[in-house]
């Protein structure tokens, strides 16, 4: 088994000259659960299509489970479960017919397990896609993605637009599959707070470029929020991501060891320094804002 399930190497994809994905490199260890985070239009869906060989890169390459995304797309996709962003299914097939149709593409399809999962998720199997709710379509996509016991599950913003109940069911099913089979999971989302309990790694992109790839726990350990009063003339503070005035108090998000950061803030003349917890969403926003600032 490869120790890396996904390797993206300098992936670039341009549409009409404009880069949607721009020199993107990252690695996903086998067995990890990675949240792929970015704003709308950051290039998440394009990346996933490039990984799966559904689109060809303008330059660069990707390897997924050891297969080349460019040259071995069909082979690669047989080993991957994929939940697309907005699944489109033939309108004339019922859910049951669709499951049976898709199973034909996979020699390893586990009919018993797939049917049981569909029943457990209460998908109305005799209905056609047009008669299914958004939640049921998402669940159906998950059943179709898990049916052949893939080593790697790639989900493109699977929970966008789902109600909390379905979202919960969807995650429970995902976690169950992960626990039973030790699958590697790579899922994109812009609902940052939802992914925090499930992911152990994050890859963050902005404008098609990599902002961050890290263990989630490491990232949360290294970025903190501080409130303090700063003098109007402040020297550069190392690791500073964002600074916002809230009345007389400054709210800063800073990367670095808390003790060193607090020492640096004191040297800069800060008073009443307080450190506050920050969640992944806060870290994400700070990283994206800091990136914007740099581009100015």
């Amino acid at each position: 088994m490869n120790s890396l399930a996904i390797i993206a190497n300098n992936l670039t994809r341009r549409y009409a000259g404009l880069p949607a994905v721009d020199g993107l490199s990252f690695e996903i260890p086998t067995g990890s659960v990675t949240a792929y985070l970015g704003r709308n239009g950051a290039g998440k869906t394009t990346t996933i299509k490039l990984l799966l060989g559904l689109e060809q890169p303008s330059s660069g390459e990707a390897r997924v489970l050891g297969y080349s995304s460019i040259a071995q797309g069909a082979e690669l996709r047989r080993h991957v479960g994929y939940v697309p962003e907005a699944p489109v299914y033939p309108p004339w097939m019922t859910a049951a017919q669709l499951i049976s149709y898709v199973s034909g593409f996979y020699p390893d399809w586990d009919t018993g397990a797939a049917d049981e999962l569909a029943r457990k998720l209460e998908i109305p199997l005799n209905r056609k896609p047009g008669q299914l709710s958004r939640g049921d379509v998402a669940k159906l996509a998950l059943v179709l993605a898990l049916g052949h016991n893939p080593e790697l599950l790639i989900l493109d913003d699977p929970i966008a637009g789902l109600d909390p109940l379905v979202r919960r069911e969807f995650f429970e099913t995902m976690v169950q599959a992960m626990a039973e089979r030790g699958q590697t999971v790579f899922f994109s989302s812009h609902l940052v707070s939802e992914v925090e309990r499930i992911a152990d790694r994050v890859v963050i992109i902005e404008r098609g470029r990599l902002l961050e790839q890290a263990e989630l726990s490491e990232l949360k350990k290294s970025v903190h929020q501080y409130c303090c009063r700063l003098p109007s003339e402040t020297p550069m503070i190392q690791g500073l991501l964002t600074r916002r005035a809230s009345g007389p108090v400054d709210e800063l998000v800073i990367r670095g060891e808390p003790e060193q950061v607090i020492a640096a803030l004191s040297r800069a003349g800060a008073n009443d320094i307080q450190r506050a917890d920050i969640d992944l969403e806060g870290v994400f926003v700070a990283l994206v804002r800091a990136d914007k600032e740099v581009r100015r």
């Binding site: 995650f171 976690v175 039973e180 925090e196 309990r197 992911a199 152990d200 917890d277 920050i278």
Partner: protein, 132 residues
Amino acid sequence: MIVNIDSKSNVPIFQQVVDQITRAVLAHRLAPGDRLPSIRELSVAARLNPNTVARAYQELERNGITETRRGQGCFIASGQAGLLATERWKLARAALQQPLDAARDLGLTRSELEQLLTEALDLIYAKQGGGK
């Protein structure tokens, strides 16, 4: 639910699982011999990454709070009085740190804080019917 995870906290999720199960043992909500949910059961029920739960369970076993019986699962260990005493102090100290810091930030002097604590303790132990 055996654990209640706060994903906004800076305390890593695996550590929250460790702390909460340890706390449940200290508070006698879990007793020696009780079986913990399997990694799979807990990760699905709490929607947590199974790797995270596995790491927490390893830590609990290393701390001597639990023991794995082959083929049966993970159980609260018995005969750990000394160990639990240490854990009790560790968790209590950690739990008190934040309110004590907050009180100091409010500008309380040491003796004012001592007075406040004495009042609070009197109240708590009077309710319990005159403990030590």
